[in-house]
Amino acid sequence: MSSQNDHHALIVNYLLGRLSETELESFERNYLADESLFEELQEVEDELIDDFASDALTIDQKLAFEKYFLRSSERREKLAFATAMTERAVAWQKGTLVSIETPARDLSSVELFDNSNSKQHLLFWQDSVPAWRQWVAVAAAVLLAVVIGVLWFRNRELQRQVITTDANYARLRQEVDAQSKATAETKAELSAEQQQTQMLESQVEQLQTSPPDKIHDTIVNIVLGIDYLVGATRGGEKKVKTLAVPANARLVRLTLNVAASSFESFNILLRRDGERVVWRRSGLKAKPAGDRRRLNLTIPAETLLLGDYQVLVLGAPPEGDAELIGRYFLKVERKRATK
């Protein structure tokens, strides 16, 4: 347990920038070689953010968190999420407690009311009621007790019926769940078989049409010529390039042609449906290609889902702000596996 805690503390200290150079070197060496440590690091990072959002860090940790940890924009976004989620959860918890507490409060107030009046009722009976009326009252009370008894028995019977119905319902529910599970399993098996069939069909298709030495589509290459670039100031005709990404593709190598310019480097922003930034790079150096320049980008294929994209190209001068040069329009289509 202690070594687990030490390990956890080591990751926390790494994230908060509190390891010595020797510890850092050893930690990062292991981290790059060990996929499970990467996953653990991500989990601890998220927990650290949650702890900060709910004010559970020590003063030293808080300082390091604000000064060191929050330098990354991605982590700041995660903190915004954790803060909103914590607020929502606390509100939910309060809501739950109030709904439990309210009936209890109502009951106690009823009891107080009854107690305060009981004494007055007794005095009224003792002082002013004639004997015959008292006998009638006793008879009425006996009758009432009998009626209450009958009702109590009937109520108990009904309760038994409810319990039996509940048990039946639970049994039926279990049966339905079991059937749903079986159906889901059958569906999953069917889907897996369909996928396998599709894959085999594709492989057969590929074997029939491709030369035997054709490299499969692990890496997709695409060139966006300068005629596709819509300038930021002069504008230009919007041309959309269609990019077919096979399901088995791992990487997309995108080559952008831009005009020769004095920009020292370029920033690239890939936006899905014109809004959400799904990928970005900055400080890219363009390579000369004839009278133009060329930018090479390597994008994980999983980033490119079906949809419309804009590739924004920003030029960064040696000093000052980067400025938008223009944009390319891409339409991504996902193809079935071809391997």
């Binding site: 991500q42 607020e87 959860a89 999983e302």
Partner: protein, 194 residues
């Protein structure tokens, strides 16, 4: 025959993949995985553009390979780590550059970014969060809300209680929360971008 720089970069990239793994599929997977890990490492070390630093690390190794350098190592990650440290040292000595996100809106024409004040922004966050929470199954939603509502100063006790209630080990609970949180965060990010 002379080759241009772009072709050279392609060659470097393919040399890198071959070095990572002779099987092209596995090499591409390794590339994506290692890139992700490297970027996280650069982020932890205070690099403002972690993805770019990871790119630069791989570009350098690719260039070394096509220049004929023979990199002999049992574990490529050790070598990658060494190159990454050099990239990091150079990053630290560079002047801080402006991030794309920090660019003024007028430099991104046709973006139509609305100026939202803090309150509106918060409302938007909560509305998206609410929508996304509703897409989760009841049990998962309840689990996340309980986790976020817990007193985190009593973390160990409350989590072991939650794990006991669910009949799972604490590690399983932690992993489940991690996956749920990631999925919800993705949903909220998509909702906010709309």
């Amino acid at each position: 025959m002379a080759i241009d720089r772009s072709q050279q970069q392609d060659l470097a990239f393919h040399a890198l993949l071959d070095w990572l793994n002779p099987n092209r599929d596995r090499a591409a997977d390794d590339y994506v995985r290692l890139h992700r890990r490297l970027a996280k490492m650069f982020e932890a070390r205070g690099c403002l553009t972690p993805e770019d630093c990871a790119d630069e690390t791989f570009n350098r190794i690719g260039s070394q390979l096509i220049e004929g350098k023979e990199i002999r190592t049992d574990n490529p990650t050790f070598y990658i780590n060494g190159v990454a440290r050099h990239v990091l040292l150079e990053q630290w000595s560079k002047p801080v550059q402006e991030q794309i996100e920090d660019l003024p809106a007028e430099k991104l024409p046709q973006d139509n970014h609305r100026e939202l004040n803090e309150k509106q922004e918060k409302e938007r966050w909560h509305s998206c969060l609410e929508k996304c929470l509703q897409t989760l199954p009841q049990e998962s939603r309840q689990l996340l809300l309980e986790y976020y509502a817990e007193d985190k100063t009593q973390k160990i006790e409350t989590r072991s209680r939650m794990a006991k209630q669910l009949g799972v080990a604490a590690g399983v609970l932690r992993n489940r929360i991690f996956k749920l949180r990631n999925s919800l965060r993705g949903c909220v990010a998509t909702c906010l971008a709309r």
